[in-house]
Symmetry: C2
Subunit: 465 residues, 2 copies
């Protein structure tokens, strides 16, 4: 390909007075009375379009004056410093080739005007052409790349834990069934039940809700692993924070306790925020101007502050004593609500805070029991402006304690045989956490709804494209 990315030109990587070609889409066109047209051409490589200055001496100048938003072009010309405000370089075009017209510009769904975010969502196949979704796409990519880089540099291995699972030990949340049975003609057992032995996997199968338990098997051999893959919830949660299909990052670390992974969470978040601040300054400035005023400043603050740490038990005392009226009353034993978490992070500590050692009765079976017999070594990371962003725990590595807990919770030991094997054979202390990737992207960009930070969101009633 003989053309250059617009980012290369705008970043000054190409010598002035070079002959260059860019290929992209028209954002706007402006014609001067002097017989010159100004085209703003974008190609997704950076936030800004490049301006092509087109003289009416071109053979097809007539075509140029018919260009509208969304048309695709190849522009060749001389790269020159720009006199215009807010742009470093522009192209003095000596050729504009139209690659693709917009059929009926008046009804082009992405015509150059303000569209509501809901309207864009309904045109998910075209919305990456807008400023806002282009910026989201670049920031999302920057965060994903930084996550892989962070773990790789730290000696973690990326593991792809299974998406389809027939394991009986997931259990958390409502799951999607995966099947190839003929729904109109379901096979039946002698007893009249549906015969899942006839299904593709020979038994009932579902979409995973977490890679954690599988991840623990690999941490129990490779020491440091992480997953980064899609997970699923068949929940009818019509909120700005829930998707039926979302991406999770789940590190799992052998020989690590709760302190270790609280530190890992802090280091990871600061690493990826620094990456965005450094690499996607252009997009972040847009978000700060148009979406969330503090988009940049809150990240800058985040990366310089030490995380606060507080025990759940102490957090309850703080909340009780603060004199604030909460919708959900606070007492030891209740799960913290968003309003409580935000008070702690935003008002009391004014910093990201790690809340540790929750009552065991509100937490999952696999979390490690503390000496007090009442709490488990669980932690949540709660940040100003977002609330809970990470949840994790030290895992119960003692077989006898785990078995007792399974029993208490009425779970069947047989269903957990492979998980229990990890405790039978060379068990080690280990810990991990989960990070919802879309919530991270929503926080960084200031986008109010996770549906707008993933290309094609899946929610109750919606799986188009």
């Amino acid at each position: 390909m003989s053309h250059l990315a617009i980012s290369e030109l705008l970043e000054g990587k190409v010598a002035v007075d070079s002959q260059v070609t860019v290929k992209g889409w028209i954002r706007t066109r402006r014609d001067s009375k002097a017989g010159i047209s100004f085209l703003a051409v974008h190609d997704g490589s950076c936030f800004d379009p490049i301006q092509a200055v087109v003289p009416n001496s071109l053979n097809n100048y007539d075509e140029v004056t018919r260009l509208t938003a969304g048309c695709s072009v190849s522009v060749t010309g001389v790269l020159v410093p720009s006199a215009g405000q807010g742009q470093s370089y522009e192209i003095q075009a000596n050729s504009v080739e139209v690659l693709g017209w917009v059929e009926n510009p008046d009804t082009y769904p992405m015509a150059a005007k303000r569209h509501s975010i809901e309207y864009l969502r309904e045109h998910a196949h075209l919305r990456p052409r807008t400023n806002i979704m282009g910026a989201v796409t670049r920031v999302r990519n920057c965060l994903a790349q930084a996550i892989h880089r962070f773990y790789h540099e730290q000696g973690f291995y990326w593991i792809s834990t299974p998406i389809i699972t027939a394991s009986d030990c997931e259990g958390a949340g409502e799951m999607f069934r995966v099947s190839t049975l003929d729904m109109e003609n379901l096979p039946r057992t002698d007893k009249g039940d549906i015969d899942y032995s006839e299904d593709f996997f020979g038994k009932e199968a579902f979409l995973t809700v977490s890679g954690q338990l599988n991840g623990e098997t690999y941490a129990s051999a490779m020491s440091k692993i992480y997953t980064f893959g899609p997970t699923f919830r068949a929940e009818n949660s019509n909120t700005s924070r829930h998707l039926a299909e979302f991406w999770m990052v789940e590190p799992e670390v052998a020989f690590a306790d709760l302190e270790d992974i609280a530190k890992l969470a802090e280091n990871m978040l600061k690493y990826v925020f620094n990456a965005v601040l450094t690499e996607r300054r252009d997009d972040m400035e847009f978000f700060a101007q148009r979406v969330e005023k503090t988009a940049i400043s809150r990240l800058e603050e985040f990366v310089t502050k030490d995380f606060a740490q507080v025990d759940y038990t102490d957090a309850i005392e703080i909340l009780k004593a603060c004199g604030k009226k909460f919708e959900f009353p606070v007492e030891w034993g209740v799960d913290l609500q968003s309003e409580h978490e935000r008070y702690l992070a935003e008002e009391h500590f004014n910093a990201p805070v790690v809340i540790k050692n929750y009552p065991r009765d509100i937490k999952a079976f696999y979390m490690r029991q503390n000496e007090d017999g009442k709490t488990v070594a669980a932690m949540d990371v709660v940040a100003p402006g977002i609330g809970e962003i990470i949840g994790g725990s030290q895992r119960e590595e003692r077989l006898d304690v785990l078995d007792k807990r399974l029993e208490e919770m009425g779970l069947n030991k047989e269903d957990y045989s492979w998980y229990r094997d990890l405790r039978k054979y060379g068990t080690v202390p280990h810990s991990g956490f989960g990070l919802g990737f879309e919530r991270l992207v929503a926080y960084v960009t200031g986008m109010g709804n996770v549906r707008d930070v993933i290309a094609f969101p899946r929610t109750k009633g919606s799986a188009t494209y």
Copy 2:
């Protein structure tokens, strides 16, 4: 965490005579008559274990002599150069803490002996503890990291295309249904059909077979994108090359023709192979010794050779003229079989070869039609020792030609409305390809079966863990 990765010690990153702690699992133990025990301790950070030399002066030496394969330990001692063959450094232990015993060593499934690859597959939760699966895990990770790095450096954005799709335009291959309907109590329409409007997404939904069509929407805005995510086939293919759930890499590039993406495929493969040769020499030496003699040499050859290029039509002539007897007869119009591809790559060209411009009747609707009216701009990359590893095409960007093709193939234009929109609004030439990630890992490691290069393989009848 105060301990060090074994790789850091063996690579000489720590000063000799330092006091160090490692944590890991026993691979072997050997006791000398002189009252010294030699422990080989691995932690997954590299292929080799580190040797800990334990004198009988330790308080718990008695425990040490009961250590068996799989026990977890924390070893502290002085790092010294090793006199032993094949190891650079060892630890003169002054403390060995046993973290986890192996319950009944005689029946430990991963006891230190040769296990068949099928046996390991049946113990997928413990197999990463073996030399071979540890090596696979590190090489798989190395390849995945290199893929992300390659595309990131080239200005591509990683897009997560949807896993669950209700789109009517996938079609390729058999799909898994995703549903939350109560199978024992299926809702029915007035006509007696199953009422999928009651299902979670309001209509029938399936697991994706490819992110390509979705990827095209983002390439038509961001120019260069790639996907790297799980895809699914509900096929009853009990072969060493098929999984029901596998990971695919699918770049899609605007303003790129077939030549451009053939070159992209070549550059990508060479980049990731170089990464493995540089970063995972230890594991690759193991594969060359134990699994596939040419594991290293064939990669070295691959990265230095230019890819050959041949038109499908010329390839047919070569195959017809070569005098070799093929199981599947060759004539213009047939799809190439593995035996044909391997003859071309291994015998005729003795190099990776890009086969281009296949008959349109054996290819998908979205491939760009060539001037000859008979072929489409499709390509496969075929390599010695593996056969087809990449398949791609230039996409049909001309709306009228695409529509005609949809019609010819009896496909419903309405079902493709969003895909057609990309051609209505600023269409651009664009191209992409797909790479099956497990096949890549299987090729690099020499592992004969894709089930052994993914942590928990999903195949017909099997979705345990």
